[in-house]
Structure formats: structure tokens, C-alpha cells
């Protein structure tokens, strides 16, 4: 899905909890919150500060230096 949207000219970033699977899909931009599992992509329920941090980090991959195909793994505790 991500590749299709990027292909038609829209910059994308994925927040993924399956970094290996995502790497194989050759994502244009990808952030993996380390240690989080499926169903918990943005962290913890009600933890707005953490959710926002992850979202901001994902958006900064869009404005930052290109790393096509790379899944950036960050630790959010």
C-alpha cells in the first residue's frame, strides 16, 4: 500500500512494529518503535505524549535526509 501511494507522487512514512517484514517491502520511509507489538503501534493507551512523540519522529523522517528502504528503529522505553 505504501509503495503504491509513494509511486503516484505522495511522500509517505509507515509506523511499523514488524521491521523485518517492512524492510522486505522496501519502504520509502519507515519508523519502528522498538519492542512494541502489533496492536500497539503508537505505544500505550492514553499516553498522548508518547503517541505524539512517535508521530513527530515519523514525520521528521519525511523532512529529514532520505533513507529509502531503511527501517529506522527507535527506543521509546
Amino acid at each position: 500500500m505504501q509503495r503504491a501511494i509513494e509511486m503516484i507522487g505522495i511522500p509517505t512514512v509507515v509506523i511499523t512494529v514488524e521491521p523485518e517484514e517492512t524492510r522486505q517491502a522496501r519502504p520509502p520511509r519507515a519508523l519502528c518503535p522498538g519492542g512494541f507489538v502489533a496492536g500497539h503501534s503508537l505505544g500505550r493507551p492514553g499516553d498522548a505524549a508518547l503517541q505524539k512523540r512517535i508521530l513527530v519522529d515519523a514525520l521528521e523522517l519525511v523532512t529529514g535526509p532520505p533513507r529509502p528502504g531503511e527501517v529506522v528503529v527507535r527506543d521509546y522505553g
Partner: protein, 142 residues
């Protein structure tokens, strides 16, 4: 040359569209494969569903539901922002860090019908995303 097939994007190729604007002026579109939908919409079929859904840009996380048997639900049951951070995007807009949200966001569910997804669902969904004229699309998988 009669048999020449159109070239296909190699799976080793990484499509890349540079972002050449400012986040402060960009409208963000959320796209998820976590089977999220408005509570008022019919459920995704959890055993496999190739449809996609539209979520209004004005929706709050509290308006949303999910239909899934493939991921842990402890987070989503309490706060849909764990899968679909629409409230957080609204806050970022209020803080001036992003320009805003698109009028519609989109969601797909689980399906093993890969060919139908590739040939029908995904192109149709990509075209709908394009109609929103987003500056950036943020995807979540669940």
C-alpha cells in the same frame, strides 16, 4: 515486439517522492491496514476483506472501532489512537506543527487475496488518497 509486456517496478526498487514543502503547511492523511472504521459503519469481515473504508477527517478516536483477530487488542480497546492517531494529529495541528488533516482518511483490513488487493483494492485506494491532495501520508499497520 507484439509480446512485449509493460515494465514493472522491481521489488528491489524503493519508490521515493521527495517532500519539498514545510510540515507546518502540510495536510496529513492517515492510512491504516488495521481494519479501523467508524463505529457506525458495517464491520470488516475478519476472515478476509478486500474493501477499504473512509474515515472523515473530523472523526475522533472515540468514534472509531476495529475488526481484527490478528493483533493484540489491549491498547486499541482503550484508545484507538494506538492504531490510528487522529487525536494526536489534531493536537499537532493546533500546535502549528502540521498544517492540518485531510478531509478523509482510509482503512483496509486483513486479506489473503493478494492478487485482488494488488490489482483492485490498492490502486482504488491510492486514487482516493490522491484526491485528498495530502502533503504526507502516514501509514500504520496495527
Amino acid at each position: 515486439m507484439a509480446d512485449a509486456k509493460p515494465l514493472e517496478l522491481s521489488r528491489y526498487c524503493v519508490p521515493f517522492t521527495p517532500f519539498q514543502a514545510k510540515l507546518e503547511g502540510a495536510s496529513i492523511c492517515l492510512v491504516t491496514t488495521a481494519a479501523v472504521r467508524m463505529k457506525s459503519d458495517p464491520p470488516f469481515a475478519t476472515e478476509g476483506d478486500t474493501s477499504f473504508r473512509t474515515i472523515p477527517g473530523s472523526a475522533s478516536a472515540a468514534d472509531l472501532a476495529y475488526d481484527d483477530t490478528h493483533y493484540d487488542h489491549a491498547c486499541a480497546d482503550r484508545d484507538m489512537n494506538c492504531l490510528f492517531p487522529v487525536d494526536r494529529l489534531r493536537e499537532l495541528t493546533g500546535e502549528g506543527r502540521i498544517g492540518g488533516l485531510t478531509q478523509r482518511h482510509f482503512s483496509m483490513g486483513y486479506s489473503s487475496a493478494l492478487r485482488e488487493l494488488r490489482e483492485t483494492t490498492i490502486p482504488a485506494l491510492a486514487r482516493e488518497v490522491d484526491r485528498e491532495r495530502p502533503g504526507v501520508v502516514v501509514l500504520t499497520g496495527g
